[in-house]
Point group: C2
């Protein structure tokens, strides 16, 4: 069933709230069954009984739809290219500062901790977040590096950032929970820098 | 109720299986309610209606009892002092190799992944593991460093090791899951070294 042939940015598309909810439900099913990387907007649209264009109209890209469905509180896939484009010798510090400054905002932290708990605690959701991180974050960083071991380098960065978030905001190990953002940028920035360019 | 006045290494103490099970049940309650650091063998013994000496007889130290109750598959609190005592310039590599070689054993990995999932996924068990790590691992490392910021240094090491285990064995990010132990020792060892001594 085709509800609309092309995305319209103005005016209320036919279907309205009902289509929007059907798309979200279809996305949950598709991502859950296929994982992030194998899921397509076309298949989600088919499950919801709408045209792909309506999905793009309401939610943007596959990454946007995933972020909406999963409740991702920040969008590293969108922000990281800008961080990588600045002065190269400070990329490590900028990556650490970007993540920590986001998590210092109560709303981002609250939703981020729930997401980390769910993604690591649940056998079902782990591969879903892994697929998103691999494709939208690690893949993007790796492509800017232009070396043979780019994916391993980018994944090592992800491991340190994940460990930092878990230790500071989830497990709340005292010395890390008490440290300032500036202190942690100074300590952890060079690790990220070395993984990327060392 | 005092079942026994002093630990006996030979012969079956009075109480037997029944006391052992009561001690484990009491330890689960005590650790769960008080957290690791505030729990005492004396309080666990009182809950179980046995003498502290019987707890030590069956289970050893508080850390031993905790490891038994929680199902910790490796004992960094026991092994790490030896790792720190070797040649100082290679401590970072030895720490990473110790953790990865343990997790390459299927039994350790299986139980370790369950423990990581539970500790991070559940709001109730997170503080419990945090208390154990702070006291028995980070505290021990920090005391060997003899600098003002020793606890932060040791906690940063814990963050990278936790992130490495989560990324390689729980989320299984492809490039990290595929890398050899030697490769990861070379890449991550210098991070641990710098956090400790840099």
């Amino acid at each position: 069933m085709i509800e609309q042939g092309a995305p319209r940015r103005r005016g209320r598309p036919r279907g309205g709230t009902d289509s929007r909810e059907r798309i979200i439900a279809a996305a949950v099913d598709e991502f859950g069954e296929q994982g992030y990387e194998a899921s397509t907007v076309r298949a989600i649209a088919a499950r919801a009984g709408v045209d792909s264009a309506l999905v793009h109209h309401y939610f943007g890209t596959k990454a946007d739809l995933f972020a909406e469905v999963v409740g991702i509180p920040m969008r590293p896939d969108i922000d990281v290219p800008g961080i990588l484009n600045g002065p190269r010798e400070l990329v490590g510090e900028r990556v650490v500062r970007y993540v920590l400054e986001a998590f210092e905002k109560p709303d981002v932290r609250r939703r981020g901790v729930v997401l980390i708990r769910t993604a690591i605690g649940s056998r079902l959701t782990t591969p879903l977040l892994a697929g998103f991180l691999s494709r939208e974050l690690i893949g993007r960083i790796a492509r800017t590096l232009d070396v043979d071991d780019a994916e391993l380098r980018a994944t090592l960065v992800a491991s340190q950032i994940a460990g930092l978030l878990v230790a500071r905001y989830v497990i709340k190990l005292p010395a890390l929970a008490a440290a300032s953002v500036d202190e942690l940028v100074t300590r952890v920035g060079p690790t990220v820098q070395r993984y990327l360019f060392g």
